[in-house]
Amino acid sequence: MRDRDDEWTGLMRSAIAGDAAAYGRLLEAVTPVLRAAARRGLARAGQPVDQSEDIVQDILLAVHLKRHTWDAEAPFAPWLFAIARNKLIDALRRRGRRVFVNIDDFSDVIAGPPAEETVPANEVTSHLNGLPPRQRDVLQSIAVNSESIKDTAKKLAMSEGAVRVALHRGLASLAARLRKE
């Protein structure tokens, strides 16, 4: 557990310093842990655990948009689990449950096997269509069709800088929509 936390903290420091590959590796590494915790939270609240992927994606979006609030001198795991806990409570409340999530629900979770991803998450996809056209087109191209920023720019006749701006704004709008639900 200690090693895992140190590894995450190291990856996040590299990510903040501009290493996008380290950032991707970090998000991949935390996802199974978040998934296991989300499943456990849903199970405890008597909810179907196959909705866990929506919660995982909500957490990942928040981690991404709030990463500037992480203090590079502090360990990464407590920060991550605080966000995850907040999002899990939110998600369970939205499903009509008043719940108390213990912080230990996260810190002692061992990652489940990756095959546990059951029902594909659809909350993010369903909100995609409600975005302003430009953000929607950019996210559709990059997130759904896995196009590069360069190809997206060419296809939509935008500059790469404009694609990057629309991408960031699109992610922020998605997070806002998930919150309002």
């Binding site: 501009g18 709030k66 500037h68 991803e117 759904v144």
Partner: protein, 212 residues
């Protein structure tokens, strides 16, 4: 959408840098301050004898207390903008302005007085105090909440309340230069009442606005 694709998308956005909450809060307060000052100057203005008043330690104490409130609330606000933060270990900072005004009350008690304590406490400007401080605080509160939206507070209502505290500290600093009631008893009675109103507005607004 598969989570794997979302992760790849987020990594592509990794180059986007958000400014730290503290920098945004500083800009927001610097932009809101002129609005509050303009309100203050057009409605009340400084008291005419401000130059002589400056030699009165109880006049100066008002600024020490209100500035201490503003500064400690700013520090606590920035701390609470982090998702894993709580008031534990930080809440005592907010007692500094309380201790300062308590010292002031003690000091005034030691002085020989012509006026009874109740007269000093009630003063002449109670109504102006409880209406003007919230008014001058509101532009600052709006700016602070806007800035703190970049944070990720675990308890949005609490974060909003502390934002109310910091704007009331700054609003009260403006008002203190107008008010002719310098007795710490007056300050300890009416300023907190005005501050409580701003804190309540901050908590209600924060509950909605500071969720992430």
């Amino acid at each position: 959408m598969e989570t794997e694709r979302l992760i790849r998308t987020l990594a592509l956005d990794a180059g986007h840098r958000q400014r730290p909450v503290g920098a945004v809060l500083a800009v927001a307060l610097l932009l809101a301050m002129p609005v509050s000052v303009a309100l203050f100057m057009s409605i009340l203005g400084m008291r005419p004898d401000v130059r002589t008043a400056m030699h009165n330690p109880f006049f100066d104490l008002k600024f020490v207390v209100t500035m201490a409130l503003a500064i400690t609330a700013i520090v606590v606000s920035l701390h609470l903008a982090r998702p894993e933060a709580s008031l534990r270990g930080w809440g005592w900072l907010l007692l500094i302005p309380v201790a300062l005004i308590a010292l002031g009350i003690g000091a005034e008690m030691m002085m020989p007085h012509q006026r009874p304590w109740l007269t000093r406490l009630i003063g002449n400007n109670a109504r102006a105090c409880v209406s003007a401080i919230p008014l001058f605080s509101l532009p600052l509160l709006a700016g602070a909440l806007w800035a703190l939206r970049r944070g990720a507070p675990a308890r949005p209502a609490l974060a909003g309340a502390i934002a109310g505290l910091l704007s009331a500290g700054l609003g009260a600093t403006l008002y203190a230069s107008h008010c002719t009631d310098d007795s710490p008893l007056f300050v300890a009675t009416w300023y907190p009442l005005a501050t409580a109103m701003v804190v309540a507005v901050g908590a209600i607004a924060g509950r909605k606005l500071l969720r992430y």
